[in-house]
Amino acid sequence: LRRKSHARFAMKLITHNMLQSNVKGVQKGYPLGLRATKLNVLDVPFNKEFVKSMLMRLDYAVLRMAAKALGYNDLPEEIPADSSDNEEFLLKVHHAMNNLEVEEGTLICQETGREFPIKNGIPDMLLKENEVK
């Protein structure tokens, strides 16, 4: 599961899949919209067991939407029935969840339009005083 040193440090779609807007009063803070101004595409070694295991924990539709926002359109609309043995499918999932990294960009709260910056690969989700009270 550990990435080797060739992996640059920036936000992957696994992380995006977990993040939500926590601005006070927001009902539907998930998923966050995604826009990248600096995208890195890596070539992380494929680990089938890891991908299968992580797939169970992700919201697939959100992963697909986020990948599309980054220009990767190869994920099918639905998870195929034979997904656990479908290596072609799993490789696509792997690419989406491990190889696409946003170094600079924005996460957008769909309800309020509030933008959370991604700088140096790190999403800044800190709220301002008035977003909390």
């Binding site: 936000m11 993040l19 067991e49």
Partner: protein
């Protein structure tokens, strides 16, 4: 018959691999020592045994406390003389009575993991003795030492009285304690102010009468604590609670001499030999600003002579304040100031910003340099989780735990963007956020860990809210691990729960952090540095920051956790000066 050779071959292979691994560890430790001492390793290490040893990783930032390590060395090695830790160095140094004694320790410890310390040990022989950093007692403002305050006959009478004294003695680890003048409330750990009585034994009154001649003693004492120390026993560093007692503490030493150490917040240490029949009087800075304590060890070096400790009795005379309040200027040491400061804040996030977030942003590279070893129990907890578990490390700092277990995938987060930059550079997924408002969807993680974080929240409401957020993002059936600093250490002292803990940062790190930061964060860091006091010690300049902590009493964490619905709270354990609990979400 065919199997046996293959097995031995394999065993040899494994052994060789382990030896190589250890050799690598040794090399790493050596280069760290060389880097911190600023000299090549060949100038520091001795190829033949000497009296002095390096213990890498047991210095500043070690999770084995100074007191624990010292107690362990005293117990195991009759030849142990002294443990030296310099505050900016990650390695400690040990002095033995002779090279032969050092060899005994080397054989017993090098490459082994003693159960008491639970940390693998590496020992190197050093060419030179550790640098002494202690100053003379004359450098401690307000300290007075009066020798021969009582006669030998008076000393004998007092010793006999104390030894034959019945009644309620508090039995601690290596000393027993009794109080006079007020009833002592052992639950609240303070005097019962209402219970003032004046029934001092005549012998004690006599000693008190003599104190009238001391013009530097501001108040006549009305409370006495007697400590009977087993030979070699000590007492941890502490500042006498500001709000409980007036200025002026008097300590009379009977039956044995001892050396007391006083520590200034900037790290300066003063060694004060206390002869028998002498009194030590602490006023002003020495009472309110410096902490004092006695190292547990068999003997002390006084002048150039090693003097063995015998059983020692101390009588400490204090004046209890009429009103439990202190008005001094030593804010960081003053429990009255800290609780009033908290109370005066409209918004407790100011404390959490100024004395936690901004400080960590300012000290990030230095802080990260001193956080070396992941704690074994936490690493094991992560390794025990099912393969592929998604872990959230809330308050991950420099990412110490983000890569320790190969079977899990961890996303870290922290308030300090400067610490996260370090974590991110190591290849981890991180986000900046506040524990009180976690930006994660509910029930999204299999495991949540919170290591040394909750104690940075300044109110009970915030601590509870932070814990609730941890539980919210956890999936049903998921596990939560929490570690918080414990108030209780080896022995009780008159301490308090809300404290400011100093961090002394070398000037060289100022350049680094200003280089690494940008925008609003950088402005805030510059501002905090310019407001923080600077000290010079041994030709090195330091900036002194204060971090806020609410240290936890035994049982406090489980009580908070049990308020959260749908959470099964496990038993509380004590691990390396922290209270820790594992919970399962139902």
């Amino acid at each position: 018959m065919e199997e046996a050779p293959a097995k031995t071959k394999n065993a040899l292979k494994v052994q060789k691999r382990q030896e190589n691994k250890f050799r690598k560890k040794e090399k790493k430790a050596q280069s760290m020592i060389a880097q911190q001492e600023g000299k090549p390793i060949s100038e520091l290490l001795s190829s033949t045994p000497t009296r002095y040893c390096y213990l890498p990783y047991f210095g500043a930032g070690s999770y084995v406390t100074f007191e624990n390590l010292e107690a362990f060395l005293v117990k195991e090695f009759p030849g142990f003389e002294k443990l030296t830790v310099q505050k900016s160095k990650a390695h400690a140094m040990v002095t033995f009575s002779s090279p032969e004694d050092a060899v005994v320790a080397h054989e017993k410890l090098h490459g082994k993991t003693p159960e008491e310390l639970n940390q693998p040990m590496i020992i190197f022989f050093a060419k030179d003795a550790p640098v002494e950093e202690a100053v003379e007692s004359t450098q401690v403002t307000g300290l007075h030492l009066v020798e021969d305050f009582i006669t030998p006959e008076e000393e004998t009478e007092l010793i006999n009285f104390v030894e034959s004294c019945e009644g309620e003695w508090e039995v601690l680890n290596r000393r027993t304690v009794k109080h006079w003048g007020y009833t002592f409330d052992y639950v609240k750990n303070t005097v019962d102010r209402e219970s003032k009585n004046d029934n001092f034994p005549p012998l004690f009154r006599q000693v008190r009468e003599k104190m009238k001649s001391l013009d530097f003693l501001p108040f006549e004492p009305d409370q006495i604590t007697v400590n009977v120390y087993e030979p070699g026993a000590g007492i941890p560093q502490h500042v006498e609670t500001h709000s409980a007692f007036e200025d002026g503490l008097v300590s009379l030493s009977l039956a044995s001499q001892v050396v007391m150490e006083l520590k200034h917040p900037d790290g300066t240490v003063a060694s004060v030999p206390l002869p028998r029949r002498s009194i030590l009087v602490l006023t002003g800075e020495s009472r309110f600003l410096w902490s004092h304590g006695i190292c547990g060890r068999k003997s002390d070096t006084i002048g150039n002579v090693n003097v063995e400790r015998k059983k020692r009795i101390s009588l400490t005379f204090r004046k209890v304040r009429d009103v439990e309040h202190c008005d001094c200027k030593y804010q960081a040491q003053c429990n009255s100031w800290v609780s009033e400061f908290k109370g005066s804040q409209q918004d407790n996030t100011k404390i959490e910003d100024q004395y936690v977030k901004e400080v960590y942003n300012s000290i990030a590279p230095h802080f990260s340099d001193t956080r070396h070893k992941p704690w074994p129990k936490i690493t094991q907890f992560l390794k025990d989780q099912p393969y592929g578990s998604l872990v959230c490390d809330v308050g991950c700092g420099n990412g110490k735990y983000l890569g320790v277990a190969d079977n899990v995938y961890t996303i870290g987060n922290d308030q300090s963007v400067q610490l996260l930059k370090i974590a991110s550079e190591r290849g981890h997924q991180v986000a900046v956020c506040n524990n009180l408002y976690l930006p994660f969807r509910s029930e999204s993680f299999d495991v949540v860990i919170s290591i040394a974080v909750i104690h940075h929240f300044s109110t009970k409401e915030h601590r509870e809210q932070a814990l609730r957020e941890l539980v919210r993002v956890l999936k049903p059936g998921g596990k939560l691990l929490v570690y918080v600093w414990a108030m209780e250490q080896e022995e009780k002292t008159f301490g308090q729960q809300d404290v400011l803990v100093p961090w002394n940062m070398e000037k060289k790190y100022v350049e680094q952090i200003l280089d690494q930061s940008e925008g609003e964060t950088k402005e805030k860091i510059q501002s905090l540095i310019s407001e923080s006091p600077a000290v010079t010690k041994q030709n090195k300049e330091y900036v002194v920051f204060q971090r806020y902590y609410h240290v936890f009493r035994k049982g406090e964490l489980p009580t908070l956790l049990r308020k959260i619905e749908g959470l099964e709270v496990g038993p509380e354990e004590f691990d390396h000066a922290n209270w820790t609990v594992v919970c399962t979400k139902l």
